[in-house]
């Protein structure tokens, strides 16, 4: 099929979730003689040109827009067929003369070049495609980039290109049609099962992660029975809990980490109270997160409420339908209250104290050790 690849980018936000669409448009839409083929070229994380290959007809007018959407500088050289590696080697050999030359070696093999383009800068190259059919590589010769960051311009009358998977003119990591943000960094993504660690994590275990619904100082914990929770070291509170799985960290761990960990399963508890514990009659002023301790692999959090130590160890319930929050306030100087909300998705049961309007009242003695069991409210 004769086609021209036109690539459009719908979002101009840098490094945002830039969505890329490849539109295949029949050649009848474009006139071949006096048209300009426009290629909008961005840069993806992991040293990749956003457009890894395109076709033009011999003698076509080509407008190549390089929009450096990366956070490193890049150039773009279009070179004669079969000379990519040689040109990259020549660029490397420029040594200390490289910066002044823009890392562009003096050789006839370089047909056109877009000079070094800083992050957020754009440059345009307009040229007439060669009359001779062939595969013309384009490559960034910025130091260290040349072996990974390249693509292919197919100059042909037919507009045909090989199957992507079999195209030896593009980086191997792009032959699956996906833009691989982790190119070469996370091991072989197709290997199954994927080992995330040099051991198999067995609940309870935890990750400190970026996750929606908590501060950036979140701690996500996997418990047995596929129950999980997020305790926030930024606020010293339990933020939410879920069932049916733990986390998908694929996005968080690939590339630069500009992503969030994704919850696997269904949230059954979400705290509606800023900070639930009050010691005495005054609302707490200073909450200080102190850390956690592993107790049979369960995390016991330690924080201070206006200088009074609070310990909180969270387990799954034995039936797997909720969580147990085991509190210790060994030096509670006076009575303690724990506030809850009826809109949190759970039913609370307290081992000690008296509930009044969703507020648990505990004597100092009761507060030394008490348990709150949070069970998922069954839907009506």
């Amino acid at each position: 099929m004769r086609q021209i690849q036109v690539v459009m980018r719908t979002s101009v936000k840098r490094l945002g979730v830039a969505a890329w669409f490849t539109l295949a448009i029949g050649t009848s839409v474009f006139s071949q003689t006096d048209s300009t083929t426009t290629i909008k070229m961005g840069v993806l994380p992991g040293l990749q040109f956003s457009v890894v290959r395109f076709t033009v007809k011999p003698g076509d007018q080509v407008k190549l827009l390089l929009d450096n959407t990366d956070d490193m500088s890049h150039n773009l050289l279009i070179v004669k067929p079969g000379t990519r590696e040689k040109v990259v080697a020549l660029a490397n050999n420029l040594g200390e003369a490289g910066p002044a030359a823009g890392y562009i070696p003096e050789t006839r093999d370089v047909l056109w070049a877009i000079p070094v383009t800083a992050p957020e800068e754009s440059r345009t190259l307009v040229f007439k495609a060669p009359n001779e059919e062939g595969v013309y590589p384009y490559v960034c010769t910025y130091p260290g980039h040349g072996t990974m960051m390249f693509g292919a311009m197919y100059v042909s009358v037919s507009g045909e290109m090989p199957q992507l998977a079999e195209d030896l003119n593009i980086p191997e990591s792009r032959r699956d049609g996906k833009t691989d943000e982790s190119a070469g960094h996370l091991g072989h993504a197709n290997e199954k099962p994927v080992m995330l660690h040099p051991y198999t994590p067995v609940p309870p275990y935890h990750y400190r992660v970026f996750i929606a619904g908590a501060s950036p100082a979140a701690i996500a914990v996997a418990l047995p029975h596929n129950v999980s929770y997020c305790w926030d070291a930024g606020t010293s509170t339990l933020r939410f809990a879920w069932m049916g799985g733990f986390l998908d960290n694929a996005d968080l761990w690939k590339g630069k980490g500009d992503a969030e960990s994704k919850i696997v399963g269904e949230v059954f508890f979400r705290s509606k109270i800023d900070f639930p514990i009050q010691i005495g009659n005054k609302a707490p002023v200073r909450i200080a997160y102190k850390g956690y301790r592993m107790k049979d692999r369960y995390l016991e959090f330690h924080y201070q409420v206006d200088g009074t130590d609070v310990y909180e160890l969270i387990r799954e319930t034995t039936d797997g339908k909720g969580i147990e929050r085991n509190f210790r306030i060994p030096d509670a100087p006076t009575r303690v209250t724990f506030r809850s909300s009826p809109y949190e998705g759970v039913m609370y049961i307290a081992s000690k104290g008296v509930w009044k309007h969703h507020v648990l009242q505990l004597t100092a003695n009761e507060a030394r050790a008490f348990t709150l069991t949070l069970t998922k409210t069954e839907k009506q």
């Binding site: 701690i219 960290n249 102190k290």
Partner: protein
């Protein structure tokens, strides 16, 4: 007469000393990491018992027995750990994204059970670039922690930790330049023994390298980008400003609004320049952790000098510092290129046996993964040992005597000088790039030191020296012929 005798005895001594063994002075060995470990190294140190302790991007902290070659999991679940301070065999401090954490094995089972918050008294917006580096301890037990500026390529999350001040960014979206909208992004902070974190010095963009020398001097590397014309090494002193404006909003008593709006001249006059520039595309594009060689000669002849990792190629850079008019400045040279060394050289640590361990990382940028070690083979390297400023040029001392015919030929010393702009733009081209002629060469009696007189010597320039085919007395070529000296100060007569 006495002089003649002295010269004679020197030459006799030299004639009698055996030629050093030829061959590579350093070799690179691969360290096998366990299966299933994404070996993106965030931190690397040695325990008093000689074991390696390393932290990885997915949150594992593991120890490695260099004799049995066994790996052991010490802690897990950390968020982007990028620094380790060893307290004892069973206790370390780890700098992770949200806090400095004490990991301690309190029950002796070999696994940390205490994860204690040592300090989290700094802000995080959830921007991916809010890396934290250190902690580096001085002789008094203070810790220094460098906090990366937030990236214009990322965002602030809806919920942040810390007070927000939007004057710390340029424009309403913050997507123009690296920014500091929560305390103390872009600062080096100091954690005193009472547990208080103090803002210490400001103006850093991406300070992926922090080290304290034996005399409590603090040095920090920074990466080329906006306001950093080329990557740099700073000597960091309290209260000083090192160039990136965002963090200035957290200066005590700051009343000048958005620092990005200050005139360039004003910012320039406030700032302290680097002590060593790493010319971009020439020396290093992304310098990382610096370590001083205090191995007492076990790593070769460069005792007291600084080694710095480079992320973008298989290179370790060596830095030779001196004090001119009481201020540090100096030179850098490629210490090791290739020899099997991978890219992504992010973390360095000297082992008790004097080998230099290198942890590699890519983290979505250019790099590699894994751990390697660089071993001094005992074969003496032929290298520039020191480069010092003189009143009218430079004095180069080599590690070995140099053949005199070549050593005395001025054409074997090709100098160029240039500087980089201080501006908002990302990076900088070389400015006023110019060749500088060598007008006179003198060689010392021991043939180890050449004194070079230059046709012109001006402050504010990097002097890039490319050596010709100089060889040791025994015919071995110089390992690296490239040395770049940052001239901030001229010697005052």
């Amino acid at each position: 007469m006495k002089g003649v005798f002295f010269a004679l005895s020197i030459s006799l001594l030299m004639a009698c000393s055996p030629a050093p063994e030829s061959g590579e002075a350093y070799m690179v060995e691969n360290i096998k990491t366990p299966k299933g470990l994404a070996s993106q190294v965030g931190a690397l140190e040695f325990l008093p018992n000689g074991k390696l302790i390393a932290a990885f991007t997915r949150g594992e902290v593991m120890t490695y027995d260099t004799i049995t070659k066994e790996w052991h999991l010490f802690a897990e679940g950390l968020h982007d750990p990028l620094g380790i301070h060893v307290v004892d065999n069973d206790e370390v401090l780890v700098m992770q994204l949200p806090e400095l954490t004490r990991l301690k094995d309190t029950d002796g089972d070999g696994v940390a059970d205490l994860y204690e918050n040592v300090t989290d008294a700094f802000g995080i917006t959830g921007n991916y670039h809010e890396f934290n580096y250190g902690p580096e301890m001085d002789s008094r037990g203070n810790f220094y922690i460098a906090l990366n500026s937030s990236s214009s390529g990322g965002k602030m999350r809806d919920e942040v930790r810390g007070t927000i001040n939007l004057d710390g960014r340029d424009g309403t979206t913050g997507n123009r330049q690296m920014f500091s909208t929560v305390p103390y992004r872009g600062w080096v902070t100091k954690l005193t023994k009472d547990g208080t974190l103090h803002p210490f010095a400001v103006g850093f963009r991406s300070p992926n390298g922090i080290v304290v020398d034996g005399a409590d001097n603090l040095f920090v590397t920074d990466n080329q980008g906006d306001w950093v014309g080329t990557s740099s090494l700073f000597h960091v002193e309290p209260g000083k400003f090192y160039g990136h404006p965002g963090g200035l909003v957290w200066t005590s008593g700051w009343s000048r609004g958005n620092p990005f709006r200050l005139p360039l001249d004003t910012l320039d006059s406030m700032r302290t320049p680097p002590v060593v520039y790493f010319p971009h595309g020439i020396m290093a594009n992304s310098p990382s952790q610096p370590v001083f060689d205090y191995t007492d000669g076990k790593f070769g002849p460069f005792e007291g000098q600084l080694f710095v990792g480079e992320m973008n190629r298989g290179r370790i850079v060596r830095v030779m510092l001196e004090k001119v008019n009481g201020k540090f400045q100096g030179a850098c040279t490629p210490f090791l290129d290739s020899l099997g060394l991978r890219k992504g050289n992010s973390r360095l640590a000297f082992a008790p046996d004097g080998s230099l361990w290198v942890g590699q990382n890519a983290h979505g940028w250019l790099g590699d993964v894994g751990i390697q070690r660089i071993v001094f083979t005992g074969k003496q390297p032929v290298d520039v040992y020191t480069m010092r400023l003189t009143s009218d040029g430079f004095e180069l001392t080599f590690t070995q005597p140099i053949q005199d015919t070549a050593a005395l030929n001025p054409d074997n010393y090709q100098f160029a000088r240039y500087y980089y702009l201080y501006h908002q733009k990302y990076g900088s081209p070389q400015q006023e790039l110019e060749r500088i002629r060598v007008t006179d060469v003198k060689l010392s009696r021991n043939r180890k030191t050449v004194t070079l007189q230059l046709a012109s010597l001006k402050p504010g320039f990097i002097y890039e020296l490319n050596l010709g085919d100089l060889r040791s007395k025994w015919g071995q070529p110089i390992r690296s012929g490239l040395v770049c000296y940052t001239v901030n100060e001229l010697i005052k007569d």
